[in-house]
């Protein structure tokens, strides 16, 4: 320090320091190029397609990788491919998703405890706001003014085939929108199974209890 560097006659020290400081300040601007890179993150706008959407709707007939056939990717966004999730080819999708029995189909997988627990979880997320945790159609949104959906504990719905619930989740019913974009096909069956459990919970007789437990129940 203190000794002047030789051979720098053209630059006075204050000028050099000021210049260096300015350069340093300018370097602070560099970071933004790494912050905002050219690739697209989900739902970030894009000017490429003209409608400002970077997330493209499915082309009709799209099948997800690793998923098999029509039961895999949700039929609605599969066929409809719009923001409003309109169904375009309902009959075809239904046939493909529900199999030969169509709307009379039963739950195609074994109804296990795991499936029921999954069904309960999904039901509580997507159905309970309106249908209520009990399935009585008295959910919180109903208490806030929505037209009450029918209770699951009426004869018509007790007798409805499993596929009816799958169908309603997939395509909506009355004022209920389609939940196909929110609930995956397997989860729809899980929810149907859980609705069956809910129905039984509100309409069980002593005969439904296993024989061993029956005795205990009547003894008490």
């Amino acid at each position: 320090m203190g000794k002047r560097a030789p051979g720098r006659a053209g630059w006075s020290r204050p000028l050099a320091v000021t210049l260096a400081a300015l350069l340093l300040l300018a370097a602070g601007g560099c970071r933004l190029e790494m912050y905002d890179q050219a690739h697209v993150r989900p739902l970030r706008p894009s000017t490429f397609y003209g409608d400002s959407l970077s997330a493209r709707p499915f082309i009709p007939g799209t099948v997800g990788r690793g998923e098999s056939g029509a039961d895999s990717i949700d039929p609605v966004s599969n066929g409809g491919a719009t923001l409003s999730g309109m169904v375009t080819d309902r009959a075809d999708q239904e046939k493909a998703a529900l199999g030969a029995d169509g709307l009379n189909a039963s739950i195609p997988m074994p109804v296990t405890r795991v499936l029921l627990m999954r069904g309960r979880q999904r039901y509580d997320i997507y159905c309970s706001p309106c249908h209520g945790r009990l399935g009585d159609g008295q959910g919180m949104i109903v208490q806030r003014g929505l037209v009450p959906p029918p209770s699951f504990h009426i004869d018509r719905l007790r007798q409805a085939p499993d596929a009816h619930f799958y169908d309603v989740i997939t395509n909506g019913f009355g004022i209920m929108y389609s939940y196909a974009a929110r609930v995956a096909p397997d989860d729809r069956w899980a929810i149907a199974a859980y609705i069956r459990a809910l129905q039984m919970s509100q309409n069980a007789t002593v005969q439904d209890v296993p024989l061993q437990e029956q005795k205990r129940l009547q003894g008490e």
Binding site: Y35, P42, L43, D51, P129, G145, I175, Y177, A181, R182
Partner: protein, 218 residues
Amino acid sequence: MAQIFHPSTNTLSRVSIFGILFLLVGGLFVMAEIYRSPYVTKATVVRDQPVQFSHEHHVAGLGIDCRYCHTTVEKSSFAGLPPTETCMSCHSQIWTNAKLLEPVRESYRTGNPIKWTRVHDLPDFVYFNHSIHVAKGIGCESCHGRVDKMPLMSKANTLQMEWCLNCHRNPEKFIRPRDEVFTMGYVPAEDQSVLGPKLVHDYKVNIRQLTNCSICHR
């Protein structure tokens, strides 16, 4: 020969020598503080949105699960922003004349998405995946704060790297049972110093791996 400098110059020069030091250190400190301040990080700063959507009302008031709208949070890097259709599931029926909701109805009519302002925007050089955090028992609340107490959305945390590392170095302090991931206002059932390490072990969280550069910068 007359004195050129007044005797007080001695003091002055000493003060300025130390002063420069304090100025430099102080300047660095101020810069660091500014960098961590809401002015830069936008933490706790409410952003303007096309619709004044209240998480408080929908989460605390109505008890709607996070996943009702953020449907892909369990299976994708992106938690998912609901399409207008999700809003209209209820709002085609209730509050149908509310002026507040006109942008929602317009979006539904025209098919043009609502242009929300991103509140949590990580730099593009960061790889972040929601699904792995959810699967390993990190609650929404741990990063997003008490969303059920936010009438208008703001970031609860800076999302700066030092903040990420807080947890990546000590996940046992924040981990919770998978069943409680979506709970707001979660209180551990037992002491976190006991429960935390147990969950880290049960969920196979590899702590040493969590601070690899390539975990987040890939």
